[in-house]
Symmetry: C2
Subunit: 113 residues, 2 copies
């Protein structure tokens, strides 16, 4: 009854069209400013980028540093707490890679979705 009840919490902060991409960018890139992120993610709108970053910030995964300059500069990075999430991401990734292979074994080369 009480095992695995909260794994949805981990899901919550990862789902969505953009959160994974944003996370990947910041993990591989270190600190990035808003416009860099936007340029590096094709088709994302400011609104989506802002929205997703705020959610990640709320969860203490992403740090937002505002520089009081004109024109404004805002830099984003993964927090220390966020870094501690990488083993989980790695585990999920490993499982995913393996699962894709598993599906191909089961269903052959047809597109596996």
């Amino acid at each position: 009854m009480n095992t695995y009840c909260k794994f949805e919490t981990a899901l919550d902060i990862l789902i969505g069209k953009w959160k994974p991409v944003i996370l990947l960018r910041l993990l591989n890139h270190g600190t990035m400013r808003f416009s860099e992120l936007q340029k590096s993610i094709p088709d994302i709108t400011k609104k989506m980028l802002t929205q997703q970053l705020r959610e990640l910030e709320y969860h203490d995964i992403v740090h937002r540093e505002v520089y009081k300059e004109i024109p404004p500069r805002v830099e984003y990075s993964i927090t220390d707490y966020g870094q501690r999430m990488t083993p989980l991401l790695q585990a999920m990734n490993d499982w995913g890679v393996n699962h894709i292979a598993h599906l191909q074994e089961l269903y052959g080369e047809e597109q596996v979705e």
Copy 2:
């Protein structure tokens, strides 16, 4: 560029209002027939239950055993392959539990969502 690219695969088979609950039931309970599952999950409709079970079956997480009887009997269980997913679920759960505590540290006792 190529690290953590597939962790969305793991997400995919877990998201949804019902998949986690169904998984939990089957993990804790072993084999269950359709009607047992339905009774044990308040408010789920047949259609939703069927739909989710089929998806889990496609991913080889859940096994579906049909007994050719009248009235029909169909039993569901976690496959061996599905069992091998439990460490990941456990890891996600642990992270989730910890994260909830982390949020409460940050934001206090107000409802944390």
